[in-house]
Amino acid sequence: MRRYLVTGALVVLALVYPLLVAGFPVYERLGALVLLGAIGASAWNIVGGYAGQVSVGHSVFFGFGAYSAVVVYTHLGWPPIAGAPLGMLLSVALAAIIGVPTLRLSGHYFSMATIAVAELVRVLSSTSEFLGGAQGLGGPAMPRTVFDLSFLSATPFYYIFLAVLAFLLGLTWWIERGRMGFYLRAIKDSERAARSLGVSSGRYKLYAYMLSGAFTSLAGSLYLCMFGFVDPESGFGILISVKMVVMAALGGAGVLFGPLVGALILVPLEELSNSYLGGRGAGLTFVVYGAIIVIIARFLPSGLLSLFERRSPARPPAKMNVASGHAD
């Protein structure tokens, strides 16, 4: 009962947040930024958290989404958001192409291969005239119609992002409870065991990867609509990928609300530390930002949500449990 009350209160808070901060554009925008970060990290969570395949190259999909949106504007004159479905389709196809060779790799090898693929695409995009080369491409400078989603206030974006996030989390929840969720958890715990039980691990990993890619791409398209510009670094850069991983890991990977919690901590931390410390130009922003991440990782290696988790007996003790001192 208490759980429903808390959930209900949080949902209401999410719905009325823009009203609470109305008149403070920075905080209206902060809300939208948190949700956008949460969409990206939640999309990543499907393959990285649930299936345990730690991709550090998800910027490939993010960039595809952003570029699809800007390309339909630049080359066809359509509103950028019209590129979102295209980006998602392309990303699903791309996920299949990348996934087949790389998902066979185990552990860190997979992570490294995804980094390499993302870097590859970044370099290629900077040589492509069609994609605006290294200069990048800009969306509509001034909104033409409402479909350009070019709003003075961030509040419309907030509700669009909230709807997308709600849909994505609903979908994830549905998968989590269904057969696929069961298979993914089995694969994450022990791929060999899953396979011996007859789970077609390759296929389910690929499904997860494709789904994850599609929604990461959507995050990219939404990013483009909001910021109106993408170049190879802000689309395909490694920092984009790492941020998704870090957000999910910080909140709790493989947990439904983990990425959202991560975004709720990291995005405001990043924005506020830059606002208050960035102007001095001594790099203090990232000293603080880095230190806080280190401290959380040190004391809550399984993410913030592990604080509220009942100890699940299913998880085998980590290899090196001889270490002293318990975090909790």
Binding site: G48, S126, P301, S302
Partner: protein, 287 residues
Amino acid sequence: MSITLAQVIVSGLLLGAVYALFSSGLTLIWGMMNVVNFAHGDFVMLGMYSAVVIWTALGGGPFAAVPVAAIMIATLGILSYFLLVRHIMRGPMLAQILGTFGLALFLRYSAFWYFGADFKTLPDTLVGGSFVLAGIRFEGSRVLAGAVGLGITLLLHVILTRTAVGSRMLAVSEDATAAQLMGIRPQRMQALAWAMAGAATGIAGALIANFFYTSPTVGETLAILAFVTVSFGGFGSVLGALVAGLIIGVVESLSAYLVGPVYKDVIVYVLFVLVLWFRPQGLMGKA
């Protein structure tokens, strides 16, 4: 073969030996503990700053800088192990990325705060200029880094495979609990691995600073290269990293010269993915 092509290959080999040099610390940690250190590039960066400080403050060359950097970064390695890594190893693999990425930002911007954003370089007279051999020009600072790279790689290999300490470290990496039952203290061995990796990385930084620019963000550039080198070679295999480094160096140089510098990274990444396609455990990694 034209002299120019020979020169390209030689420069690729020297570059490759340098890649092996700054990757050896990463592969050691990776192999010993299955931990990827996302702050590795920033360890190299701090090694480079050690050399810069020793030159600007004391006028010392590489012979002073190398041991100092080795000790500094080894200490940093031990501190990172005890204060952070030891704890994040209890969590999922993701915690490593989280923790070491945070550490990377912290170190990078602490250096930024302390040293400023400026690029620094060491005078290229510190390590005796260059010499010509059979029509091919060799640059002293790169030859020194390459030679040390080879030396350190082989030394690490010998320590791991031929000494008692090495076999104890390997025992811990295979099964820490079993090793503990045999009277080996896993934490001590792992701290030792971080110290050795730190020392190798510090030396790498101090030598690279002689021919590369030093800036707070230089580690980012180097880290991706190190990741590719290490997984290309097979994690945990010090020799694998050496071979991979040499291959990558030569491929980069040749493709930059023959195809165009923009495409050299593309070719290296494609090659890397292909290698993993045929050998998912890297060139010399254990299956």
